[in-house]
Amino acid sequence: MAQAEFSQSNSQSDYLQQIRASVARRELISRLFGLLGLLVISIATLILIALVAQLFVQGLPRLNWKFFTSFPSSDFNEAGILSAWVGSLLVMLTTMVIAVPLGVAAGIYLEEYAPKNWLAALIEINVTNLAGVPSIVYGLLALGLFSTVLNLGESILTAGLTLALLILPIVIVTTREALRAIPSSLREAAYALGASRWQMIWDHILPYSSGSILTGIIIGLSRAIGETAPLITIGALTFIAFLPPSPIQSQFPFISFEWLTAPFTVLPIQMFNWISRPQPEFQVNAAAAGVVLILLTLTLNAFAIYLRYRLRKGVKW
């Protein structure tokens, strides 16, 4: 078509010039978009770096061993994040134990078992939408359902259930995407050898997609670890100067789940508490806790990338 458009000119050199002008014009537009993109991403990245840098400058000097091993206190020099990081850890653990099996199983069912009809489409749309529901709405639901109706109180279990609910859509969606990415030739290969659907999933699809599924889980967890609003809604305390009962006991049966019912606080709530204090020294504490939180999130993300890399290395098609 381009040939026909240009061939009206008489001489060969006119024709070439027309082509070059056209190429130059289109290349210019392409380059302009590239520049615009670079500009936008630089601004976004710089703002982020500035924020993190400010937090580090303010908080890093406050970070020492004692900060990690002390309970919060009204004396800002004595105050630490012991109950907060232990709380975050236990809540994350509970969240993971609940969300991972449920989310992965739901993802497998929706992707591999559910008939592709209007009901499945409806569920799919809803699951995707749930990922975008404001977290405080989950908090309200949890306050009514877990705290009050099921009478679980302001416990680690309630917090774990709430955050599990929050990240469940993320886990389901990433599981489905991971399963969908496995080429159908491998499914057919397994079926052709007489594998049942479950054998096909368990022996092939799950191991091949485990890297991507794990990545989704970790991304979900790193979202959960920074959540504040839903936990405040269910009544997490902002000042806790004791630890939950240890899961490991000296007497039989050596393992205790009493900690699940204990009250708790988590890192972002501890931060929130310090920020709302008038004394500027507590702002420093908050910045230090923020540094810990950011490092935790970055570590989780780095771990996710590493896992994806490791598990993908042996698997290609």
């Binding site: 491998l186 499914r187 057919e188 290969a189 052709a192 007489g194 594998a195 022996d203 092939h204 290609k316």
Partner: protein, 262 residues
């Protein structure tokens, strides 16, 4: 139009027989009253232009179509006298008896050994000595043992394309199926790998019945004993390979094998 009365039937047994098979993808009819015979321990080739239904017919033999919704069979494929298209027959049972080699090599991202052993593991064989023995036998059957015996633990993806396809053949014969289906098994391979696969089919037919879909008439002529020519979902002609190529009874077959369309 379809001649299923073939010479020499005194010494040959019918392994499978297709009787008036219709097949639908949703409402689209892809096979129209197809009938043919698959003789025991012979190579039968399905040829025809793209979209003629040859792969569709092949995938009826191991009920691959059951994996996708909306597909429907109407008619019979008798395997040793039993209609494997019956609703009450589990497709898994059919696939344990009729295995398949695909168009592109599709080994699992596992070791060479595990690829061959998978069909056996699926059937519940766990004993190591039995697995070892059957894996070796299958790899020998697929002419891959000499190249692979020292690297059984290596990932299958380290093999070349032709070796991968022979690995897929080993995987398909490890369970000692009644029929092996080949769906254009050499279309992704170079000429040297292609000829090694063709040689292999010649050896394999002493033990197993082979049904092959191929785009290449030369390949059909080289490897098959019987050839079926299909066109627009219909079985136009079915005969001994050399008769079909040299004395086609139908004008369409004549035109196709002489390269007038395709």
């Amino acid at each position: 139009m379809v001649d299923t009365r073939v010479v020499n039937s005194s010494v040959m047994e019918r392994k499978a027989e297709v009787k008036n098979l219709d097949f639908y993808y949703g409402s689209a009819k892809a096979l129209k009253s197809v009938s043919m015979v698959v003789w025991d321990r012979r190579v039968t080739a399905l040829i025809g232009p793209s979209g003629c239904g040859k792969t569709t017919l092949l995938r009826c033999f191991n009920r691959m179509h059951d994996l996708y919704p909306g597909n429907r069979y109407d008619g019979e494929i008798l395997l040793d006298g039993v209609n494997i298209l019956e609703k009450q027959i589990d497709p898994i049972e059919v696939r344990m008896r009729v295995s398949m080699v695909f168009q592109r090599p599709n080994p699992f991202p596992k070791s060479i050994y595990e690829n061959v052993a998978y069909g056996l593991r699926v059937q519940g064989i766990t004993e190591k000595s039995s697995l070892d023995e059957k894996v070796e036998k299958a790899l020998q059957g697929a002419a891959l043992w000499n190249e692979a015996k020292d690297r059984l633990k290596e990932p299958a993806y380290n093999l070349s394309g032709g070796q991968q396809q022979r690995l897929c053949i080993a995987r398909a014969i490890a369970t000692e199926p009644n029929i092996v289906l080949f769906d254009e098994p050499t279309s992704a391979l170079d000429p040297i790998a292609t000829s090694s696969i063709e040689e292999l089919m010649n050896e394999l037919k002493e033990q197993v019945t082979i049904l092959i879909v191929t785009h290449s008439m030369q390949q059909a002529a080289r490897v098959s004993d019987y050839t079926a020519f299909m066109y627009l979902g219909e079985m136009v002609e079915f005969n001994e390979t050399n008769l079909l190529f040299n004395k086609p009874a139908d004008q369409k077959t004549q035109d196709y094998v002489s390269g007038r369309f395709g």
